[in-house]
C-alpha cells in the first residue's frame, strides 16, 4: 500500500519543488495523510536582528504566506488525486494569488527551526480565507499568526 504514499508524496513534491523562493528560504513540508506542517529550517541568513538574535519579521511573514498558499494548492490537488483521477500531474498546478495578508507578531522568532500549519476557513470558487499559526518549541506558544485572502486560480 506504499503506492498510495508514494503517489501523495510525489504530488506534494510537484507542488513545492518548482518554486525557487521556497528553496531559497529552505522551507520543507511534513505530510501525515492530508495534514501538512511546514518547516522553516533555520539558517544564519534568515536573521533580522543579530543582537537578540531573532528571525527577520519579513521571513516570518513569507513563511506563513507560503504555508497558506501551499495548503490551498494541496487541498485542491488532494481532491484531484484522491477523487478517482489518480494520475499525478506532471506540470506544476497553478497556485492561488495573495490578495492581502496580515501578520500578528506575538514574540520574537528564536534562532532555530520554526513550524506552521494553515487552516482554510473558507474556500470558494474565486476567493479563499486562510488562517496560519507558527510555533517553535511549544505548539501552544505561537510566535506568529496570520490571516490572508487569496484569489483562486481559474479553471480556464
Amino acid at each position: 500500500m506504499q503506492v498510495v504514499k508514494k503517489r501523495r508524496d510525489a504530488a506534494l513534491a510537484t507542488l513545492v519543488a518548482g518554486v525557487p523562493y521556497i528553496r531559497f528560504l529552505n522551507i520543507t513540508f511534513d505530510r501525515r495523510g492530508d495534514e501538512l506542517t511546514s518547516v522553516l529550517n533555520f539558517d544564519d541568513q534568515i536573521i533580522g536582528n543579530p543582537t537578540l538574535p531573532a528571525i527577520h519579521g519579513g521571513v516570518t511573514a513569507a513563511f506563513l504566506e507560503t504555508t497558506a498558499i501551499i495548503q490551498l494548492g494541496w487541498q485542491e490537488l488532494w481532491q484531484e488525486i484522491e477523487g478517482g483521477d489518480a494520475s499525478v500531474p506532471h506540470s506544476l498546478p497553478r497556485l492561488p494569488k495573495t490578495i492581502d495578508f496580515t501578520v500578528d507578531y506575538l514574540r520574537s522568532g528564536l534562532p532555530r527551526d520554526a513550524y506552521a500549519r494553515a487552516r482554510v476557513n473558507r474556500s470558494g470558487r474565486r476567493y479563499a480565507s486562510v488562517h496560519v499559526e507558527a510555533w517553535q518549541d511549544n505548539r501552544s506558544r505561537l510566535f506568529a499568526q496570520a490571516t490572508g485572502h487569496f484569489l483562486m486560480p481559474s479553471d480556464t
Binding site: G57, G58, A62, F101, T102
Partner: protein, 145 residues
C-alpha cells in the same frame, strides 16, 4: 542628525541585518522618519516559475525592513524596534527583471508604538505593486521603561 551621519547609520543598519544582505537590499534615501530601500531582481526569489514573478514574501520582507528603518530614522531616535503587526495588500504582480523599491513613512510615534505605512513599486511608479501598514515597538535608547 546630520545627513552624513544618517546615511552612515542607514548603511550600518542594512549591513547588520543578515537577511537584508541576503536579499541585496540597499538604501536609496533616508530622512526624518522616512526610508527608501531597493532590492534587485533575483531568480532565487521567484514565486511563480511560469512567469518569473517575485514571491510576495520577498516583497513583504522588503517593506518590513524599510518600515523598521523608517522607525529607526524617526527624530525620537528609538534604540531598537520590532514588528508588532503588518498588513500587506498585493495590488499586482511585480514585473520580472525589474528592481523593487519600497518607501516607508513612520507617520506617528507614541512612547511605545510607531505607526508606519509603506509602498512597493517596480519601474512603473504610478502603479504600486503592494502597500503595507504596520505597528512597531519603540524602545527609546537609554529610557527607563
Amino acid at each position: 542628525m546630520s545627513d552624513d551621519l544618517r546615511a552612515q547609520v542607514a548603511r550600518q543598519f542594512i549591513e547588520s541585518i543578515p537577511h537584508a544582505r541576503a536579499l541585496g537590499m540597499s538604501f536609496v534615501e533616508i530622512g526624518a522618519g522616512t526610508a527608501e530601500l531597493s532590492m534587485p531582481y533575483d531568480k532565487r526569489l521567484i514565486g511563480d516559475p511560469a512567469t518569473g514573478v517575485v514571491h510576495g514574501g520577498a516583497i513583504s520582507t522588503l517593506m518590513d525592513t524599510c518600515s523598521g528603518a523608517a522607525v529607526m530614522a524617526h527624530p525620537v531616535n528609538p534604540g531598537s524596534t520590532a514588528t508588532l503587526d503588518l498588513r500587506i495588500d498585493y495590488m499586482r504582480a511585480a514585473t520580472p527583471g525589474q528592481t523593487l523599491v519600497a518607501r516607508a513613512e513612520c507617520y506617528h510615534v507614541t512612547r511605545t508604538v510607531a505607526f508606519v505605512r509603506a509602498v512597493a513599486m517596480d519601474d512603473n511608479r504610478d502603479n504600486p505593486v503592494a502597500t503595507a501598514t504596520g505597528a512597531f515597538t519603540v524602545e527609546i535608547a537609554g529610557a527607563d521603561v
